[in-house]
Symmetry: C2
Subunit: 339 residues, 2 copies
Amino acid sequence: MLNRIGNQTLVFKNKPRVIGSYSVVGPKEGQGNFGKFFHKVLKDDLFGEKSYEAAESKMLLCAINGAIENANINKDNVDALFAGDLMNQIISSSFAARTLEVPYFGLFGACSTMAESLIMGACHVDGGFARYAACATGSHFSSAEKQFRYPLELGTQRPPTSQWTVTGMGCTILGLAEKGISIDYATIGKVVDWDVTDANNMGAAMAPAAMSTLKAHLEDTGKSPDDYDLILTGDLGKLGSEILIDLMEYHGYKLGTNYNDCGQMIYDNTQKTFMGGSGCGCGASILNSYVYTRLLKHELKNVLFIATGALMSTVSSQQGNSIPSIAHAVSISIGGKDV
Amino acid sequence: MLNRIGNQTLVFKNKPRVIGSYSVVGPKEGQGNFGKFFHKVLKDDLFGEKSYEAAESKMLLCAINGAIENANINKDNVDALFAGDLMNQIISSSFAARTLEVPYFGLFGACSTMAESLIMGACHVDGGFARYAACATGSHFSSAEKQFRYPLELGTQRPPTSQWTVTGMGCTILGLAEKGISIDYATIGKVVDWDVTDANNMGAAMAPAAMSTLKAHLEDTGKSPDDYDLILTGDLGKLGSEILIDLMEYHGYKLGTNYNDCGQMIYDNTQKTFMGGSGCGCGASILNSYVYTRLLKHELKNVLFIATGALMSTVSSQQGNSIPSIAHAVSISIGGKDV
């Protein structure tokens, strides 16, 4: 029995539910547009640690433990943790998993990781391979700048197309339940590369991948963009989301006011982040706070969450390669609509 | 219906089968003990490319395409590619996936990735989320040395506990079929860290993780080590596998002549690799050639493949952290034994 429709879309017949969630962000994100939605806002983004890398891992652990507590389960009930991050060899996730001591799968999908982990978790819960799955990711501005761009101490000027890596984490606990927010479909992305080489213009690099996956999702499910109350990309930023709107229009789909982008939304306009937020933590922190909260209040009924990732490394860029990108989509609803 | 037994073990009731496989290795590996088993041995480990990173990605693509051809399917039938590697941001996998244009999940499990990808693929095939899944990984000596240790040009002396990163790739295609090699169980690892800080002694760092997963597998399934014709760890090397034997003995399990380690086996004693091979490609290339070949000839009936990964990065090591490790186990058989 194949749980798929079309070319790239999975159908979750047992409707894995969001049993718990948690978000933790840095001070700048707390001062942004979603400050009141996040579960925890840090006063200091070092979080009591000596390095930003250690702080990032501690924040991720905090998000996972927070979601387990929010789900009102014991960590021994978590049959699988699916987690990844932006650090080389995803050390933030692996060091968090070391403390948690639960069965662990490390993922790398760059900023698409929140959707990737949700898809993995939904497959494991839906297929009976896990009672509860923890799906987690996040990013930290200071560790990402150091690894991908310049040390903060240099005070390097940022180009106008740049985005600001979100210091934030999110975790969702999935399990089977009678009611609540459910994961209905997922569309797995293919790698798309339109020859963008500017690592300071990630929105432009990732927009074609978002288009590819959104188009595949609509074709596979027979839905139109209007069937969703909210179509939310992870972190295309202002420029990237404008490009996505244009690309979808070219393919005959009109994205209206029900479309938005976490990168575009997360910071206040006064916060000088140019094109907005980016990083795994951007979509992860907003999904696990604002989106689920509005779904639980029935202010939203159907959400298509599309997390986008730029899959380059500093080495691939230094060797002159363009930026391969990917987007995974997860269809999330409340109200027990039949699939 | 829960497809699990014990605390960490999955049961694949629909018995996903190995439909195809392929291995490609560098010249040194071709001269080692398994030269005649590998599908392709390169004459030059640059594989016609200008960088070792590009060569690594091309080799991985070659392995995936080879396995698809060996499975006698079209790449459009591959519903999901699960792949990862050792490079920062797993560029080898993502660039290979860019050319392939199939739905793609990036993984990071360090040298445990062959088992991680097999588990993911088996879950997707068993759960009806994929008709065919491609599970692939690999490593390249020269790119790994450059990233994790020293540039080759320095000619740095290697310590006696060091292992040699295998230049090799492997890919398995899983699908449902009436007969053939089947994936029966998988035991998902937890992160284990016994405070080893020496990145030139990976065997010692990873042996406790192998012990943890092997012990969990035996407890969960009620099997004894003797139930397997071959228990094969991924790349503990000579020292690491001796430590594993000791640790298992401490816990009351005797590993006999049916236990071996890919890292220990892959090179000839004259090849000056000290403790033997390591890297994702070590277990991947041997599993996808020698092990499947012997299973298909019924020279082996039941194999437990345990791939081990050291989850540190250069940054985590430079900051004084120890090396968290993980091992995933996959139980593979031929002969259609009932689960």
